[in-house]
């Protein structure tokens, strides 16, 4: 049972108070105030009324002022106020509503009217309170759902690697673009040992936090089994059994799992209900890896998955993706589709894994236009160069200009020993001279001794040079316009070295890792 509602009657005439109290006392708990000040005090007390019947004409403080003050106060503004007055002109009523009254009753009072109005307003106020509470609850739920989505997205993005295995024989890059309602995609790329590269891409059914957690579980299981099991079929079989256990949400996941021997090019793979990857050959032909090795994972326990073994040719690129790519839609609800994807892969240099994936993501965004992305989009590319290091040399020097010759002379000897001809030898010496000169001349603000490391790796038909220094962060290849078209008088001296390096080397890359600048140059042999 609800406690009786409290009604405060405010009037300077005790007789009037008595009339109202008598009329209502059976159904409500009645309170009384004989002046405006008393009324304010009662309304602000801990025992505040649920409704106020307020006389207008009172000495000291009239009803309008009482009403105005109550409506200004955060604690009392929601108490419904009904004016009770002998005055019945329109002007007064308007003024009453202006200061915030909810209703107006004129004397003489009809008991029925009074009762029904009081009842109605109490009920309305109660409904308003309930509505407000319901609204707050809905907002809270919405926030909770949004928080859950954010958590899911965080789980998803923190689970997938953003740095990739590095080796002369391979180049890997992958990216995942979550949909607004997380779809549960994942990818992974890691070295199991010095020659085995594990690659996988998966797509969990369902959305939100459950999908993200299931994805995290799947990825973790694959990685842990792959550390001791080199058969993709066996790994998938074990992952399936493990995931089936306690899968109350009936989630499932499609997975493409591959292990590449980076020295032999042998690729062992298992496709569990995932869309077919592509193999892009150097002659720009496209091969679909359409072997199936079992159904989706986590649907049925005790299944035994199969695997295939192929050998990659040098300069092949393996391209894995999830259906978010092909099912991306434009505003007309047409799919991006396999044909468009295949054309993209044929028309672009997929060997440049990062560049081509960045371009593909841009192409998909452009295609989607204003349409919102409904599923996660994941792509992973692995370029297999098959190159191995035939010889290598590392030289370390202190940051003195005179020491540059230790590197160029050391490299000269390395070239003689490893049958590197004069042209690349001279070009690399020039590049080293200019780059290291820059580092020593402009990279250090202190007068301390620093070490600069230069590593040379001779592959079959390429030389890789890695320059590592702890100077202040500086990307030498960033910007810088050359002025090589200018005449002798207009020429500024400076900036030319980098221009030469960029032109003489096949590729120049810079990255900042921890406190080190790392420049990687390549030149064909």
């Amino acid at each position: 049972m609800n406690a009786l509602k409290k009604i405060l009657v405010v009037d300077d005439e005790p007789l009037n108070i008595n009339i109202l109290v008598e009329l209502l006392k059976g159904k409500y708990k009645m309170m009384a105030a004989k002046s405006g000040l008393q009324a304010l005090k009662a309304a602000r007390s801990s025992n505040k009324p649920d409704l106020i019947l307020l006389d207008i004409m009172m000495p000291d403080m009239d009803g309008y002022e009482v009403c105005r003050q109550l409506k200004e106060d955060e604690k009392t503004k929601d108490i419904p106020i009904i004016f009770v007055s002998a005055m019945s002109e329109d002007m007064d009523e308007t003024k009453g509503f202006d200061v915030g009254a909810i209703d107006y009753i004129t004397k003489p009072i009809s008991p029925k009217t009074l009762e029904s109005r009081v009842h109605t307003h109490l009920a309305l106020t109660q409904q308003a309170v309930e509505l407000r509470e319901a609204h707050a609850l809905i907002q809270q739920q919405q926030q909770r759902m949004q928080d859950e989505l954010n958590v899911a997205r965080d789980i998803q993005l923190s689970m997938v690697p953003t740095t990739f295995p590095q080796d002369e024989a391979i180049e890997v890059y992958a990216t995942l673009k979550p949909a607004r309602e997380i779809g549960g995609d994942f990818y992974d790329a890691f070295m199991i040992d010095s020659e085995s590269l594990c690659l996988c891409v998966g797509d969990v059914s369902g959305k939100g936090a459950p999908a993200a957690l299931f994805m995290a579980m799947t990825k973790t299981l694959i990685k842990s089994y792959a550390s001791s099991d080199f058969s993709t079929a066996s790994i998938m079989t074990r992952v399936n059994d493990e995931l089936c256990e306690g899968n109350d949400e009936n989630l499932f996941v499609t997975v493409f799992l591959a292990i590449l021997n980076i020295h032999t090019g042998e690729l062992r793979f298992t496709n569990a209900g995932h869309n077919y990857p592509y193999l892009i050959r150097e002659n720009k032909s496209l091969l679909t890896l359409n072997q199936k090795h079992g159904p989706i994972v986590a649907a049925m326990d005790g299944l035994v998955y199969k695997e295939d073994l192929i050998t990659l040719e040098k300069f092949d690129t393996l391209f894995l993706y999830t259906d978010g790519v092909t099912e991306a839609m434009n505003p007309e609800e047409e799919l991006y589709g396999e044909k468009r994807l295949e054309n993209f892969l044929l028309e672009h240099d997929c060997k440049e894994v990062k560049t081509s994936i960045d371009l593909l993501m841009k192409d998909i965004s452009t295609y989607e236009n204003s349409a919102s992305q409904t599923d996660d989009i994941t792509v992973l590319s692995c370029f297999y160069s098959g190159q191995s290091v035939l010889a290598s040399l590392t030289i370390s020097i202190e940051n003195q200009l005179d020491n540059i010759r230790l590197i160029t002379e050391g490299f000269d000897t390395f070239c003689e020993e490893n049958k590197i001809s004069d042209t690349p030898n001279q070009k690399v010496n020039l590049a080293l001279d200019d780059l290291i000169n820059n580092i020593i001349s402009y990279g250090y603000k202190d007068n301390k001794v620093h070490t600069i490391n230069v590593a040379f790796k001779r592959l079959e038909d390429e030389l890789i040079i890695i320059i590592e220094d702890d100077a202040m962060p500086f990307n030498p290849f960033d910007g810088g316009t050359d002025n090589t078209h200018l005449s002798i008088d207009e020429r500024e001296i400076g900036g030319l070295g980098i221009h030469l390096v960029k032109n003489l080397m096949h590729s120049c890359q810079y990255q900042r890792k921890a406190n080190k600048n790392i420049v990687v140059l390549t030149i064909p042999l």
Binding site: L401, D402, I404, R405, T408, D422, T423, Q426, K427, N429, L430, D433, D434, I436, N437, T484, H485, L486, S487, I488, D489, R491, I493, L496, G497, H499, L500, N503, L504
Partner: protein, 107 residues
């Protein structure tokens, strides 16, 4: 880097042996400036025995060409394959007088 100079047909012919880079450029520039200060204004730089030339070396050539502009001559000859490429990439082949051989430069 070793510099050898000979007087031929009013020109001072300088042969550069070694590499013209960060380490060697300051001394080379000093030597050339001394020749100019002594009154030599017509040069042929023969790079037949130069292995490579970094931007430090190019700077020396540019500074020399600027000094001689309007009052002397600088001719360049016998560039190897890589230095020729460096000259092309840097635009030096269009702002300096480059000859295939020392004989062509002198004639």
């Amino acid at each position: 880097m070793q510099l050898t100079s000979n007087e031929k047909n009013e020109y001072k012919v300088i042969e550069f042996e070694g590499s013209l880079d960060t380490a060697t450029s300051p001394a080379v520039e000093k030597q050339i400036n001394e020749f100019i200060d002594q009154g030599t204004l017509k040069f042929v730089f023969n790079f037949e025995k130069t292995k490579y030339m970094s931007s430090s070396g190019l700077r020396v050539l540019l500074a020399t060409a600027k000094k001689l502009k309007g009052k002397g001559e600088l001719k360049i000859s016998n560039l190897n394959e890589v230095i020729t490429e460096v000259f092309d990439v840097s635009g030096f082949s269009t702002i300096l007088n480059v000859y295939k051989t020392e004989e062509e430069a002198l004639s």
